[in-house]
């Protein structure tokens, strides 16, 4: 097993622990999951991914005992899952499936209230919680009285997430949650999940077969091979930068570097002020900077603000720099923009560099060379 831990979680707390977990289905000659060790840090999204037959869904369903493991132990928040009855255990773990599985004969409000009612909450508490969740997952309150059949696929999936979060479980299991919706809605729901996670900070185990989804939503990705063999486990960037073996490399695909671009933010690059001069500089000084960088483009900065570009060969000696700015717009990026966005900005700008602006304040520049070095590092 090419298991590697690139980064310890910030507080080191493990919410879900799998130790030597195995599963062999009755009548099957080979194991669906061979001895598997996995630690899911608290408050993180861990994505289980792999080809068909890799046991990712089986592994997920063993956590809430929808499938009983053949061997090994699974603990959730330090408690062995076998110490509780399956129904008790499941009420404390959120569960979202691909087909959503909303109850067609119950209204949206009743669907969301399922687990709180199983737990015997009183009416007022349930209804307050339902209102809270509808707001949290971004649905209108006037949908509460409707039936699932009256909602779109994306809305139904939001209800599904709301229903899973109803009793505020610390752990959420999601089995290909966005597999049944079209790519546009899927992208939006992924974004919503990340935004939601910022607020609720649950421990989430998510199964998918979509590597882009895994990279986008996962804090860590566990790549499984057929028979439940863990090939690599780590942050998505670590997998993309240093695939443990040929299988991982092949599974991640040929565009690993391009995929990595979407993972890093501009602020992760070393700060580079770039070919800029102060507005008070002389024309000669600007020419000198232009010659040094070779491209001829020089940025003009005035008291932390990026004013625009001048070109070394088109400078006139008689006028101050600030009056000679070219009309070429400066492409500006926020520090939390991804490298992918930076690359796009660079490719479309004539000056071949993108300007970083943090709420208007000049924060350096990004060049193609910097991105390249960032990926190699």
């Amino acid at each position: 097993m090419g298991q590697q831990r690139d980064e310890q979680s910030s507080d080191g707390a493990v919410a879900i622990q799998l130790r030597a977990v195995t599963k062999t289905f009755p009548g099957a000659s080979t194991a669906a999951v061979s001895p598997l060790d996995l630690d899911v840090p608290r408050g993180e999204i861990v994505v289980l991914i792999g080809p068909s037959g890799c046991g990712k869904t089986t592994t997920l369903r063993m956590i809430n005992r929808l499938i009983e493991p053949t061997g090994g132990t699974i603990t959730v928040e330090g408690v062995d899952v076998r110490q509780q009855s399956p129904t008790e255990l499941r009420r404390g773990i959120g569960y979202v499936i691909q087909q959503i599985g909303l109850f067609p004969h119950r209204t949206i409000a009743q669907n969301i209230a399922t687990v709180p009612k199983l737990l015997g909450w009183d009416k007022a508490k349930v209804s307050a919680r339902v209102d809270e969740l509808v707001d949290l997952v971004g649905l209108d309150r006037d949908m509460l009285g409707r039936y699932p059949g009256e909602l779109s696929g994306g809305q139904q999936q939001r209800v599904g997430v709301g229903r899973a979060l109803a009793a505020d479980p610390p752990v959420l299991l999601m089995d290909e949650p966005f597999g049944a919706v079209d790519p546009i809605v899927r992208g939006r729901l992924q974004g919503e999940l990340l935004a939601l996670q910022q607020r609720v900070r649950k421990t989430i185990v998510l199964v998918t077969h979509d590597i882009d989804e895994a990279i986008r939503v996962g804090d860590r990705v566990a790549l499984l091979n057929v028979g439940g063999v863990l090939e690599q486990f780590g942050p998505p960037d670590a997998l993309l930068a240093r695939p443990a073996n040929a299988f991982v490399e092949q599974f991640l695909g040929s565009e690993r570097s391009l995929k990595r671009l979407a993972l890093s933010q501009v602020r992760s690059l070393p700060h580079e002020r770039g070919p800029v001069v102060d507005a008070s500089a002389t024309v000669d000084e600007a020419r000198k900077v232009a010659d040094e960088v070779g491209g001829g483009w020089v940025g003009v900065v005035d008291a932390e603000r990026f004013l625009g570009w001048v070109h070394g060969e088109r400078l006139e000696d008689s006028r101050p720099l600030a009056d000679q700015l070219l009309e070429t717009p400066a492409v500006q990026l926020a520090p939390d923009a991804t490298l992918r966005e930076a690359l796009e900005a660079i490719l479309t700008s004539r000056s071949a560099v993108a300007v970083i602006a943090d709420e208007g304040r000049f924060g350096g520049v990004v060049s193609l060379e910097q991105i390249r070095r960032g990926l190699i590092a």
Binding site: N64, L66, P86, T87, E88, L89, R90, R91, G92, Y95, I97, Q98, Q99, I100, G101, L102, F103, P104, H105, R106, T114, V115, L118, R146, Y147, P148, G149, E150, G160, R163, A164, L173
Partner: protein
């Protein structure tokens, strides 16, 4: 979805037109027999309206026959439902029993009704024999529909119910049975309509509801009785079908709303 089933407005319009047609017909027929005595044979060679509208004992007889017909329908369907629920529960719990159970029910269904009534009257009173025989005919339809209804509950819904920590019993009562209801109700509807038709045959053992009129009319070569018995039997079947449909609509609001979209 609106193409698949007529809209609410069309449905009400159809019902209204039907009721109106019956009312107009009755008014017309009463008009036609005014002034005739009960024993004239003048109004119509097929149906002698004066027998229906002038004969003083007719309303009383028809009322008794309606009650008998309803009893002979409701009792077997109710008994069949109870029995079928138990059999369906067995079939769902032990899958292998489903084929033999439906085979037995299917065999009962093929037994000629006249023969069954005749055999049962040897041991039972005519009324008991009729109820037992008619009950046996409902089993095939009801068992099959209850099992199909429960089987038809989507796997994803069951999976979600289990994943949220519902017990098996709770899942059955709050999820599976309500979702099976449309298919079960369809079974009850078919069983009811079939039974209404079969009740007429119990006329052979001096019962029969409206079937009594048919048998009596046949024996006395009085065609009016045959026609009245047949028409009332059909009307009763249509009425009960509509009644059960409306009960189903009230019980399954989610299905209606989905159609309404």
């Amino acid at each position: 979805m609106s193409e698949q089933s007529p809209s609410r407005a069309t449905r009400w319009a159809a019902c209204g037109a039907g009721v109106l047609a019956v009312v107009i017909f009755v008014i017309w027929a009463r008009q036609a027999v005014r002034g005739l005595s009960p024993d004239t044979a003048a109004t119509n060679p097929i149906i002698r309206w004066e027998w229906v509208f002038k004969r003083s004992s007719t309303p009383h007889e028809l009322r008794d026959l309606t009650i008998e017909h309803l009893k002979l329908t409701a009792l077997p369907v109710a008994a069949g439902l109870v029995l079928s629920s138990a059999l369906a529960a067995i079939a769902l719990r032990f899958r292998w029993t489903f084929a033999p159970l439906t085979a037995v029910a299917g065999f009962l269904y093929t037994v000629p009704s006249l023969a069954l009534f005749a055999v049962l009257t040897v041991y039972l009173s005519p009324f008991q024999a009729a109820v037992v025989a008619l009950t046996s005919y409902t089993l095939l339809i009801l068992v099959r529909n209850i099992v199909a209804g429960i089987d038809g509950v989507p796997e994803s819904v069951l999976s979600a119910a289990d994943g949220m920590g519902m017990s098996r019993q709770r899942r059955l009562v709050t999820v599976e049975l309500p979702l099976a209801l449309p298919v079960v109700m369809a079974g009850i509807r078919v069983a009811t309509v079939t039974t209404i038709g079969l009740v007429a045959i119990t006329g052979a053992i001096q019962l029969g509801g409206f079937g009594f009129l048919i048998f009596d009319g046949y024996n006395t070569q009085f065609f009016t009785k045959i026609a009245v018995g047949a028409i009332l039997s059909v009307l009763l079947a249509v009425a009960l079908d509509l009644l059960i449909r409306s009960v189903e609509r009230v019980l399954t609001p989610w299905a209606r709303r989905r159609v309404a979209r």
